[in-house]
Symmetry: C2
Subunit: 458 residues, 2 copies
């Protein structure tokens, strides 16, 4: 009987709370889908600022834009947090040309981009025979042939993976480490197949890392059509390529995280972080990567403010510096977490959007099982807006250090991923390839999640 | 004890069957994602055939292409089914121009498209003052002002609906019936706001219907930016527009459904239908609407054949004629169901893809509760490929007559819908706006569903 009474007491409460929450989340959705500024802000960031690699003048411009936008969109306070950032410059137009096939002169241009943080050839062509391999396995077997060659790794995306992110994860090792692995056996440069499964020929850059034990040779990515053609050609012919790159690693420099805050009313010293990274590659507008995450972040803030929501906890909206090519232990995310630890701040949750502004399909979480279980009870509240999973595993490169330093529970937005790696780090990542409603719906679901975290804690 | 024994007997069976099914559906996915021809076929249909309204020479070309493709992709038999189709022609380049504002001459072009099945002005400009209204409610209140005017209905998509299809449903009445409702009170032409929520200014055509009781005045849709600008202008000024259209309704003519079959091994006289519509509007390439459905249909067949699957039931793959502007009781879908009824065929299930080639999110079903319950037990088998719902309610315009005539259970593929109405019936619906993997994943989920229906029945 007591139990029954308890149930009778609890059920209307649950009902009322869920209704209150679903009504408020509907207000969030209506506000963002009707008055959302994310798309207009993205236009500004992509078309008026443009590509914005850490250390570049465009990044400095993006920082100013970020601070102004945070204030304009309703931050209680907006400020910059200084940090050390990598400073790599492409230095010129990368050029890869097939110059000889079976000792007969040719001039066939290949669409190529030097990899981020690689060192160029100072504009002098590196001309050598190409040794084309599919993977490291084949490469190691043929290591005796490597000396004096340009090694070309043509490891493809596995199209049978439903998530292209899984294919990206698998191929990443070629971009990161192929140069030094080839240099170890005397290669003079490396080419890699771009980390993409696209139908076009745009090359995709991205960060690589040298192993200091070996010569630092040039490294560039080829568009997929050129990669296929070169690979086929190398199977039956001796092929010479000329690779000219200009890239330079300059001394580390100063950058800034842009931070906007909505001050907490009950627990002002407990922090929730929402963020994306402000920097992008130099060859595009960084629209999906990570302009989308930047404007998602600002939109969550704008919507909460516009609805007159006074958070219990202080919510920080952070546009991180230098995600793309930060080196070990530096960059915006590292600095943010280091300062948080230094100040002994309590960070109860962090959410990142760094997978594009496509239709949201859910969130991934890195937190305790009990916390995840609690979060999963909110699924019915977010489902009407497209969230279909609240799954184990997720976060983001910029908020990762918070988990490492402060054991902060993390989450990452998971948008539909089919188009992301078609555009990612290539010249195709421009404003025109972002859909307004898909972008806004990401912000709707993020704002809903942040509201629930703020209201109920973890 | 008996129960326990039964369980012990059943569980391994369920386990084995589910495993067999999940293994086969994985083979389907691998086959389509690796060797799928849907994207190449779509290239042919959009770039080599192009826009293909019923009755047009391009439609005739599409029919031949369809039959050849069915055979090339493995149909046991491929044939044409003759039917009667509407024959409407645009007849020239539609032109809408603001020619006067507050009695001062202007020349401001508006991006406009005559509505399908509307009658043009024979290339003579209809020049009149514009009466701009938001909706029928305002229109009826101001009916005394209508005479001699061009009435402009500016009823917008509701951005707060999460499914743009709901907004399309709500605004459809303006496209279909605005002309006759305005003509009733003496309007000389109508303009409508395009049925879209896009960020561009492309006008969207689509079918309308005259009420024979009133004069058949010209009707055209405006791009959204022009619609907004005209509406604002009309609020504060007297605006004259000149509308020149050429459209003609020609006598009904002959068209064809293209049918490919895989013959059933156990129940050859029981039919499963998979289809999309072959016709498209004239102003685009009909890539998403419904080139995607056409190539989905052929891909399902190709994949089953390539995997050596011998269906129990006869599966018909149908490219329907004349979905876009069929009139009451004619068109490909009507004919297909009429012939099926005449021959007393047993149609156990029909599936249509006519919502684009975007990432699949599920299927909607129109069938009995018991049948739906059975289908829903298959959700775990399709979830790995993106299907997140097997929901009540769904089908397609072309398979609808099968349900009406033969009570056939229906289903429609539900892809992610955020981009569809940006492109639908506008010049933006071209091959370049279809993503290969999103398209192929639709075929994966459709093939999986058809395999399960064929194996287990309903």
């Amino acid at each position: 009987m007591k139990k029954l009474l308890l149930l009778i007491t609890i059920i209307p409460f649950i009902g009322k709370t869920q209704t209150e929450d679903s009504v408020f989340i509907k207000r969030i959705a209506d506000e963002i889908l009707t008055n959302g500024k994310a798309y207009d802000l993205l236009y500004q960031l992509t078309k008026q600022v443009g590509g914005r690699l850490a250390g570049s003048p465009q990044f400095a411009k993006a920082v100013q834009w970020g601070k102004v936008s945070m204030k304009a969109m309703g931050a209680d306070t907006a400020y910059l947090q200084e940090c050390i950032v990598s400073h790599w410059v492409r230095g010129g137009k990368d050029k890869a040309v097939i110059v000889e096939v079976d000792h007969i002169k040719q001039t066939k241009n290949l669409d190529a981009l030097a990899l981020g943080n690689s060192l160029g050839s100072n504009g002098k062509p590196v001309i050598a025979e190409v040794m084309a391999v599919k993977d490291f396995n084949e490469f190691e077997k043929r290591k005796d042939e490597v000396k004096g060659k340009i090694v070309f790794f043509n490891y493809p995306f596995n199209p049978t993976y439903i998530s292209p992110g899984k294919a990206y994860g698998e191929t990443g090792v070629y971009r990161r480490s192929a140069a030094s692995r080839a240099a170890k056996y005397g290669a003079v440069a490396v080419l890699i197949r771009s980390l993409s499964g696209s139908t076009d020929n745009n090359p995709h850059t991205g960060v690589m890392v040298y192993n200091d034990s070996f010569p630092k040779i040039s490294a560039a990515a080829l568009g997929l059509k050129d990669a296929d053609a070169l690979y086929e050609l190398c199977k039956k012919s001796s092929v010479k390529v000329s690779l000219t790159t200009y890239a330079k690693m300059l001394p580390d420099t100063t950058g800034y995280n842009v931070i906007g805050e909505l001050r907490g009313t009950e627990f002002p010293n407990q922090y929730i972080t929402v963020g994306g990274h402000l920097d992008s590659w130099d060859v595009n507008e960084g629209a999906q990567d990570d302009g989308a995450g930047v404007v998602h972040t600002i939109e969550v803030m704008r919507a909460l403010k516009a609805l007159g929501y006074h958070p219990k906890h202080t919510i920080r909206f952070v546009l991180f510096a230098n995600e793309e090519n930060s080196k070990n232990g530096i960059g915006g995310g590292e600095k943010y977490a280091a300062v948080a630890k230094e100040k002994n701040e309590q960070h109860i949750f962090a959410l990142e959007s760094d997978a594009g502004g496509f239709t949201p399909r859910g969130f991934g979480f890195s937190m305790s099982a009990a916390q995840l279980q609690k979060v999963q009870t909110w699924l019915p509240l977010l489902q009407p807006y497209g969230t279909e999973h609240l799954a184990n595993g997720g976060g983001g490169a910029d908020i990762g250090p918070l988990a490492k330093n402060l054991k902060t529970p993390l989450s990452g937005l998971n948008p539909d991923g089919q188009r992301y790696f078609d555009l990612h780090h290539s010249r195709g990542d421009v404003f025109e390839n972002v859909n307004k409603r898909e972008l806004l719906l990401g912000a709707v679901n993020m704002t809903g999640l942040i509201y629930l975290i703020d209201k109920y804690g973890l």
